[in-house]
Symmetry: C3
Subunit: 355 residues, 3 copies
C-alpha cells in the first residue's frame, strides 16, 4: 500500500512538485490535525522551516524550537503530540523519523548527470566504454580500463590502467583509482577516496618496499566514503564484500578482507590482513590490529582498540577491546575501588602482617 | 602604539624589504644587546638561521642550539637572557613567542593570486561570477553557482551546482564542494577537503541510503583543514558557526551543529546530530558520539571519547570522557591500588569470612 | 648467490616471462616436492590461485584454504610441510613470507611511465624541468618550481611556486604540494597527500592566523601515504628525515621534526613542535601531544596517547602512554582488583574503624 502511494506521489518527487499535508498524512498513515491543504515543497529543521516546508519533532530536546517554529507541517510523535507550538498542521505518527525517511525521496534532488565523455576528459584509446557512461571534465581514464554501462566518472577522477568499473557504479569527483582495481556494479566511491594504492609493507632492514601483487576488489553495492583509503594486497587480496558501506576517512590496509553488509563509521582503521566476517559494524575511530578476525554480526564500539579475535555477534568496546558488559562492569568496579584507596592503605599499614 | 609601529614597518613586510635589529626591538618593546644595525630579511629556527635571519630562544630545551647558532638576531626570554651563545644581537622580551608572532607578518610571503578565470577552467554559463574573482587552472564551476566578489578558487577545485561562495572566501586546490553548499565570507577551505557529501545514513535493513535534503553551511571566517570532511544534513542542517577553525583530517557528520569560535584540532571526529555550543575546543583525535551536546566554552582533551553531554566551560578527557580532574584523581588512585593487589588478596584469603 | 639468481631471473620479472617451480625453489633455497616443471606466471592467495600461480601457506589459519587450493606451486613452512592439500608442487622453506617477498618482484608490474610533459598539463614558463621528467595530464606546475631529473608528476598534481622536487621523486596523482616545499631525491608522495599547508596556529583571542614562515622538508627516500597531511612550520621548520615512511591519513603538524628511518602507521597524529628521533616506530592511530620528544628507536603501540617524553628504545602503549610492560602489569592487577571490590567493601564496612 505504501508502495502504491509512493507511486502516486512519484510525480511530485525530486523537489519539483508540491504535495499537500493530507497526501503526506495518508502516505505515512498518520493522524493530521490543523490545515490539511498546506502545500509542502521541501523539508527543513524546525528552526528554519517556512510555511511550505515539512519538519519533524521526535525528541523533547527540540521542543523549544517547536514552540517558535514557522513550519507548515510537522511530523510528531504520540508523546509530543500536544507540545506547545503553532505549525499550520501536525501529523502524529508512531515513528516520525522512519516516516520522514520514507518521505525524503519526494524532496531529494538528484545530481545532474550528462551522459557522454566531456571534451576536456582524457580517455585512453584502449579504454572500453559502455553505453550511457558519463565522464565529467578533466577525468583521466588509463589504458585498457573498462567503464561498464551506466557508470559515472566524476570530474578529475583518475582511473589507473586495467581497472574495471561495474555497471552503474559512480566515482565522485577527485577520487583516485590505482591500476588494476575491480569495482563492482552500483558501487559508489566518494570524493578524495584513494583505492588500490600499494600498502604499507617494508623490508624494515633495508627500507625497501614489499612489491604488491595482490588485487583490490570492491564488491557490488559497496560505498566508500570521502578521503577513505583502501590499499591493494601484497600477496593476498584486499576485498570489500558486497553491500558493505564505509564512511569518510577510514583506512583499510593491504590484504584486509571485509565480508558482506558491514557498516564502518568514519575514521575507522583496519591494519593489514585483518578479517571482518559478514555484517560487522564498527563505531567511529575504532581500530583493528593486523591479522585479527571479527566474527559475523559483531559490533565494535567507537574508539575500540581490538588486539585479538572477536567472536561472532558480540559487542566489544574500549582499549584493549573486550565484551562491552565486562567493560561496563569493570568501569563500575573501578569507580568503587577508587573510593576505597585511602581506607585500604590505612588498613594494610596497620595490619602490616598482611604482607 | 604597536599598531602605529606596525604601520611604519608595513612597507618592509612580506619578506621583501629588510628591517634592522633596532627597529625590531622598538616594535616589540624589547631590550637590545649587541649589534643594533644587523639587517634582518627572514625568520629561521636556531639550527639553520643565518647572519640576516631572526630566531627565537624561549625554552631551555633549545639552549644547545642557541650555543651554536649563527643567527643574526635572537628574541630571548628574561630567564634565558644570558644563556651562552653568540648571535650578533639579542632582544630580551617578556614573551618571545608572542613577540615573534607579531613580527611574522613582516616576513611572510603571500601566495600569488591572479584575478580572472584561467582559460583551462570549466565554468558553467549559468554561474554568477563577482568582481575580482580568481579561478585557477582546471577548476570546475557548476550550474548556477555564485562566486562572490574577491573569492579565490584554487586549481582543480570542483564546485557543485547552486553552491554559493562568500566574498573573499578561498578554496585551496583540490577541494570538492558538493552541490548546494553555502560558504561564508572570508571562509578558507584547504586542499582535499570534501564539503557537503551526503552523510552516512542508511536504512540498515535494506542497505538503502537515507536521502539527504539538509543543508551544509560554513559561516563567515570559518577555516576547514586539508582533507577534512563535512557532510551535509539529512533532515537537519550541518552548520559550522562563524569564526570556527577546524584542522586537517577531521570528520563532521550529518546534522552536526557547531557554534561560533570553536577550535577543533586534527583528526577530530564528530558523529551525527551532535552539537557544539560557542567557543568549544577539542584536542587532536578526540571523538564525539552522535546526539551529544558540548556546552559553551568547554574543552575536550586529545583522544577524548565523549559519550554524553559535557557541561559548559568544563575540561573533560579520557575514555569514556569525564571531568579532567576526576580523571587524574582516578588515575592516581588506580596507581596506588595496583600496588596493593597482592596484600589485599592475602588479607582476604586469610579472613575468608569477609566474603 | 641469491643476488646472482636474482640476476638470472630478472629477465623473467615484471610478470611478463614465466618461471618454473624448479627455478623458484633454487632461488629461495627451498625443498621442492611434486612437479618441478610447473610454470608460474603470477602470485595469488590460496583461495583463488590457479594452475600457473604461486601461493603461500605460512600459518595453520589458512590450512582450510590449502586443502582446497588449485594453486600450481605453494611455498610452505616446515611445520606445515605435510598439511593435506594438493597443489602441483610444494616448496618447503624456513621462512615462507621472506621467501615470497624476495620473489614478488618477479611478478610485480610497474606502472606505465611516459617521459615528457603531457599537453594538457599547465607548466609555468619559469619552472625548471630536468631530463627524463614525466608530467601527467592536468598537472599544474607553479612559478620557479624545480623538477629534478627523472622526477614523475602524476595526473592533477599541483606543485606550488618555488617548490623543489628531487631526482627520481614521484608524486602520485592528486597530491598537492603547497609553495616553497623541498622534496628529496627518490621521495614518494601518494594520492591526495597535502604537503606544506600553513599549520593550525591561531591567536585565539583574535581568531587571526599565525603567519607560517617556516619550511616543509621531505628528505631523500621519504614516503608519504595517501591523504596524509604535513603542515609547514610557523617559526621552526617541519622536517621529515631521510628514509622515513609514513602511511595513509596521518597528520604531521607544524614544526614537527622527524628523524631518519622512522615508520608511522596509518592515522597517526603528531601535534605541533613534537620531535621524533631516528628509527621511531608508531602504531596506527597513535597520537603525540605537542612539544614532546620520542627518543631514538622507541616504539609506540597502536592508539597510544603520548603526553610526555618517551625514552630511547622503549616500547610504550595505552592512554596516557607508559612503558608497555607496566601497562600490562597494571591491566592484570586491575582485573584482579575488580574481583575483590565486593569483599573489600564488606571488610571495610565491618571494620568501620579503618576509616
Amino acid at each position: 500500500m505504501i508502495a502504491e502511494q509512493n507511486h502516486a506521489l512519484d510525480n511530485g518527487g525530486d523537489g519539483r512538485k508540491p504535495v499537500t499535508a493530507a497526501a503526506i498524512a495518508e502516505q505515512i498513515d498518520g493522524t493530521l490535525t490543523g490545515d490539511a491543504t498546506v502545500i509542502v515543497t521541501g523539508v527543513a529543521p524546525l528552526d528554519r522551516a517556512g510555511a511550505n516546508e515539512l519538519s519533524i519533532l521526535s525528541s523533547p530536546r527540540y521542543a523549544e524550537w517547536f514552540e517558535k517554529t514557522t513550519a507548515g507541517v510537522v511530523l510528531i510523535s504520540r508523546e509530543l503530540a500536544n507540545a506547545p507550538g503553532s505549525p499550520r498542521a501536525r501529523i502524529v505518527v508512531d515513528k516520525p523519523v522512519d516516516a520522514m525517511v520514507a518521505l525524503l525521496k519526494l524532496f531529494h534532488r538528484s545530481d545532474p548527470r550528462v551522459p557522454g565523455i566531456h571534451p576536456t576528459a582524457f580517455v585512453s584509446a584502449s579504454a572500453v566504454i559502455g553505453d550511457n557512461v558519463c565522464v565529467e571534465p578533466f577525468a583521466v581514464i588509463g589504458d585498457r580500463v573498462l567503464l561498464s554501462h551506466g557508470s559515472w566518472i566524476g570530474a578529475h577522477v583518475v582511473v589507473g590502467e586495467e581497472t574495471t568499473v561495474g555497471e552503474n557504479a559512480r566515482l565522485h569527483p577527485h577520487c583516485v583509482i590505482y591500476p588494476r582495481v575491480e569495482i563492482g556494479a552500483r558501487a559508489v566511491v566518494h570524493a578524495g577516496a584513494q583505492i588500490g594504492r600499494e600498502g604499507f609493507g617494508w623490508v624494515t632492514s633495508t627500507g625497501q618496499r614489499v612489491p604488491h601483487v595482490g588485487r583490490c576488489v570492491l564488491g557490488d553495492d559497496v560505498e566508500i566514503g570521502a578521503n577513505t583509503c583502501v590499499d591493494r594486497g601484497s600477496i593476498d587480496d584486499t576485498i570489500i564484500g558486497a553491500g558493505t558501506k564505509i564512511d569518510n576517512l577510514c583506512q583499510i590496509a593491504h590484504n584486509v578482507r571485509i565480508g558482506r553488509g558491514c557498516f564502518l563509521a568514519s575514521q575507522v582503521g583496519i591494519a593489514g590482513s585483518a578479517r571482518l566476517e559478514d555484517g560487522v559494524q564498527m563505531g567511529g575511530q575504532a581500530g583493528l590490529q593486523g591479522h585479527v578476525t571479527v566474527g559475523a554480526g559483531a559490533t565494535l564500539g567507537g574508539q575500540a582498540g581490538v588486539l585479538g579475535d572477536v567472536p561472532a555477534r558480540e559487542f566489544w568496546s574500549g582499549y584493549p577491546a573486550r565484551p562491552h558488559r565486562e567493560q561496563l562492569r569493570s568501569h563500575a568496579a573501578m569507580a568503587r575501588l577508587v573510593k576505597l584507596v585511602r581506607p585500604l592503605e590505612k588498613l594494610l599499614s596497620r595490619g602490616g602482617d598482611a604482607e
